[in-house]
């Protein structure tokens, strides 16, 4: 008998692991490490998302799914484009009521997933967070219990366990043992909390590489269900230590989302069948080289 590899095509991964009506986690933060190759495939397959779970700061990963009309509700700590501006699909769908926003904050993003990762029924919050408007706006996910040691009221959040999460790592072997070369954001807790995990990677490395670097392995393979080999798969966002975000493309995206987002989707998502197609459309090797070449301190 021999060991089974988990590297499969993005189309197969989405077909098998992303069910219509699922609770979907998407990793990455701001315009970094968004697993866009898989997210574009979710849009191609028109999978409907019951509830979207993100890091404390979501970006295109959430906004594109929303703009494609696939998201029913979102746990929202922040959706935006940092210094590049606001997320227009998110705003439009939220303001028109097509998207239900379950307001939350950074503490919810982290502790709800940690509660999920530890199989806790709920997760208490540190004192003070009850003073904002967030728990008042979202009484479904923030509730009060008694501290059994002091009898005082304590605000708690619901534990969250996504049905499936889509996370980007820089390297993994064929069995799912994976390395974040840069920041991990909240992706590791998301992986731990999720029932199924699709890992998009820049490169698949040999198992021997993993064994030589055991002190650097962030994700043990047992937590991973499918590996998608998608170089430049984060575009237009960055993949830490591999390439930076494509500011020109993000500005084009933001303009499109203000004006005619379906044209954007037609050109870049429905009009491309694979990650390779997509990379040709956004500018091929020349664009890739440009995003890799930059001043770095390390």
């Amino acid at each position: 008998m021999s060991r089974e590899e988990k590297v499969i095509g993005v189309d197969e991964a989405v077909e098998r692991f992303v069910q219509d009506g699922c609770v979907l986690g998407v990793g990455g933060m701001h315009m970094h490490n968004n697993a866009m190759a898989v997210i574009r495939e979710i849009i191609r397959q028109k999978k409907r998302i019951k509830r979207l779970v993100t890091s404390p700061s979501a970006c295109t990963n959430a906004d594109m799914l929303i703009g494609a009309g696939l998201v029913e509700e979102i746990y929202c700590s922040y959706v935006g484009f940092e210094h590049l501006g606001l997320a227009f699909n998110f705003r439009k769908f939220a303001e028109s009521g097509q998207l239900r926003v379950r307001d939350c904050d950074e503490a919810f993003s982290v502790y709800s997933l940690r509660g999920g990762a530890s199989s806790l029924p709920f997760h208490p919050l540190p004192k003070g967070l009850e003073t904002t408007s967030v728990p008042k706006l979202n009484q479904e996910d923030y509730k009060v219990t008694k501290d059994p040691f002091t009898g005082e009221d304590v605000l708690c959040v619901r534990s969250v366990q996504p049905d499936v999460s889509i996370v980007h790592c820089q390297k993994a072997d064929a069995y799912g043992n994976a390395i974040f070369e840069g920041s991990k954001f909240t992706d590791f807790d998301m992986i731990k909390a999720s029932d199924k995990v699709i890992l998009q990677v820049e490169e698949v490395v040999p198992n021997e590489y993993i064994l030589q670097k055991s002190h650097r392995i962030d994700v043990p393979g047992m937590l991973v269900d499918a590996i998608i080999d998608a170089p430049f798969g984060c575009h237009p966002t960055a993949s830490h230590k591999y390439y930076t975000y494509d500011e020109d493309h993000l500005k084009e995206y933001l303009k499109a989302s203000k004006e005619d987002f379906s044209a954007y989707l037609d050109k870049y998502v429905y009009g491309t069948k694979t990650n390779e197609d997509y990379l040709e459309v956004i500018g091929g090797r020349e664009k890739a080289t440009q995003l890799m070449e930059r001043d770095i301190p390390w």
Partner: protein, 239 residues
């Protein structure tokens, strides 16, 4: 703005900032290289602790921050935000009110916002930081309102919080602080008048007799700023 923020930080403090923070990052690094060698600063989502910052990036999660003393995972950073270790939290908002509360949730009524904001992110932790500093890239009456529509980060509110509250507000026009829990003009940036500030503030700002001028950067500070920020990320941030 950078100089005012840098001088607002003390030696040995631990400082944290979130999204859209080129200016606070630069200010922290300048403080560290001048009067506050034992300052620790943490760049939000990247988890970078005391990054070298050459060059200063636009994004708080940029991988160019990762030449640092530690890449502290974000969940651990958030644990830290609840601990007494954080001395200064840099905050901002779509709306900021006279008592220093900040709003990133939106504008309008619950359930029918006419403007949906991006969300509160880390601002609720303002209730636990020793103090916080507000900075904003614009200064107008849409931002500076009498009372925020929603509270993402509590300023001087009626409920008791652990934080001693906001200590300073820095905008492209001026520096402000607080007197009896209400915002007060402290100093004007060069070429700015009191009228320019009051016209662009949507509530009655306390105007003391001795409004000073915001100090200009020293030669030493300028040298550091130019070396750290060759791309001009800090300057580009101001609207």
């Amino acid at each position: 703005m950078v100089t005012a923020l840098a001088r607002g930080l003390k030696d040995k403090e631990v400082v944290i900032m979130g999204a859209f923070s080129a200016i606070p990052m630069l200010a922290s690094r300048v403080a560290q290289l001048t009067h506050a060698p034992n300052l620790t600063f943490i760049c939000g989502g990247s988890g970078a602790v005391n990054p070298v910052l050459e060059p200063l990036p636009y994004s708080s999660c940029d991988d160019r921050l990762l030449k640092a003393e530690c890449i502290y995972p974000l969940p651990d950073v958030i644990d830290l935000e609840a601990r007494p270790e954080i001395d200064v939290f840099f905050a901002g908002g779509l709306q900021i009110d006279a008592k220093g509360s900040c709003n990133l949730i939106g504008i309008g009524e619950p359930g029918q916002m006419k403007f949906r904001g991006p969300g509160s992110v880390g601002l609720p932790f303002l209730s636990r930081a020793r103090r916080f500093i507000i900075y904003t890239m614009g200064h107008n009456t849409r931002i500076f309102v009498p009372e925020v529509d929603f509270i993402s980060g509590p300023g001087f509110i009626d409920q008791e919080v652990l934080s001693s509250g906001p200590s300073m507000v820095v905008t492209p026009l001026c520096v402000m602080d607080f007197e009896n829990k209400k915002m007060r003009l402290k100093s004007l940036h060069p070429r700015v008048t009191v009228e320019m500030v009051t016209e662009n503030t949507g509530f009655d700002l306390i105007i003391p007799d001795d409004v000073g001028e915001t100090p200009l950067p020293t030669q030493e500070e300028l040298v550091h700023m130019r070396r750290i920020d060759p791309m001009g990320a800090a300057r580009d941030s101001i609207q």
